[in-house]
Symmetry: D2
Subunit: 107 residues, 4 copies
Amino acid sequence: MTEEITAALLKFRDERDWAQFHNPKDLALALSIESAELLELFLWKNAEDANVDKIKEELADVFSYALLLAEKYNLDVKQIILDKIKLNDTKYPVGKAKGTAKKYNEL
Amino acid sequence: MTEEITAALLKFRDERDWAQFHNPKDLALALSIESAELLELFLWKNAEDANVDKIKEELADVFSYALLLAEKYNLDVKQIILDKIKLNDTKYPVGKAKGTAKKYNEL
Amino acid sequence: MTEEITAALLKFRDERDWAQFHNPKDLALALSIESAELLELFLWKNAEDANVDKIKEELADVFSYALLLAEKYNLDVKQIILDKIKLNDTKYPVGKAKGTAKKYNEL
Amino acid sequence: MTEEITAALLKFRDERDWAQFHNPKDLALALSIESAELLELFLWKNAEDANVDKIKEELADVFSYALLLAEKYNLDVKQIILDKIKLNDTKYPVGKAKGTAKKYNEL
């Protein structure tokens, strides 16, 4: 699935000759900025009052820059997530982490 | 593809009884925080000096919270990205946007 | 007041020969990262459960990078804030903005 | 100095009856969002190409929310910064940290 989306993102980028701007550092900036725009939809509000249409747009931007970053490093998105879940399994063992929101270094 | 990953993320969450913490507002906070941890890997550095193993981990965290947010609103990740690309096509027409990094409201 | 603090920050920086890393772009990255570390103190929590000692530390980091950025551009901190309040006075006129958290472009 | 600015910020807030929205968690969100808006001024650019007039505005917003947070907890801004410099003095001893941008846990 990500291959098809990434291809669409690269096509959009290359039609505009934007590869020259898309170094990994600036892509990481863009991802942070889009995450903050998503966060802004919840500012001064209860979660249920956020505008879902705008959430779709900002979340799409977050996924887009995350996919472009993954592409830069030739990462398999599915694999890095499954690897991280395995790592988190040892950082947050069920026996200690169940029902608490504490960080792993405070468990 | 996202269905399978999302299922793994929900399993990890539910084994720890964490659904109680995962309201959309806090998920958006978590996404912003993980994006900043990814950004930190580039701080005071040229892009090529960032640690790729750590990038994998932080990018995996970004994808994970983005997927959990998408799941909260029952969003089809592929669809929202393709919709956003279509929208950006009108905000950044090739004729005006080619070769420039200006924002759409400055084109 | 800011002169004295900024002098202490510059002394700390120069003892470590860090001016070479402190270009404005990376200072802006650092400020974003520290803001996210502050935000993390509130993650999965009600506001009143955040750790105040840690808030002091992270908020100090935010102020420090903000002051170092102001110093880069020779900005008078008091002046830019008073100027911005004046600008916000026209973006958020009391008659329209009273009691609502709407953004200025939605008022 | 901060007393006078904080007083101006509280006056602005109270004329609009906005204290009801300004809990510390949402103030921390606002601070993160404003930091990202500042960061956006450097996106896809070299540091020297950022717009200084806009930097003034976004940096003023960052200071404003940082001061409002400090006010919530009755913090003495000067004191928390000087305390943090002292703490950083032990995390980043000159002998180890001079000329390197490594994080304290990698020194």
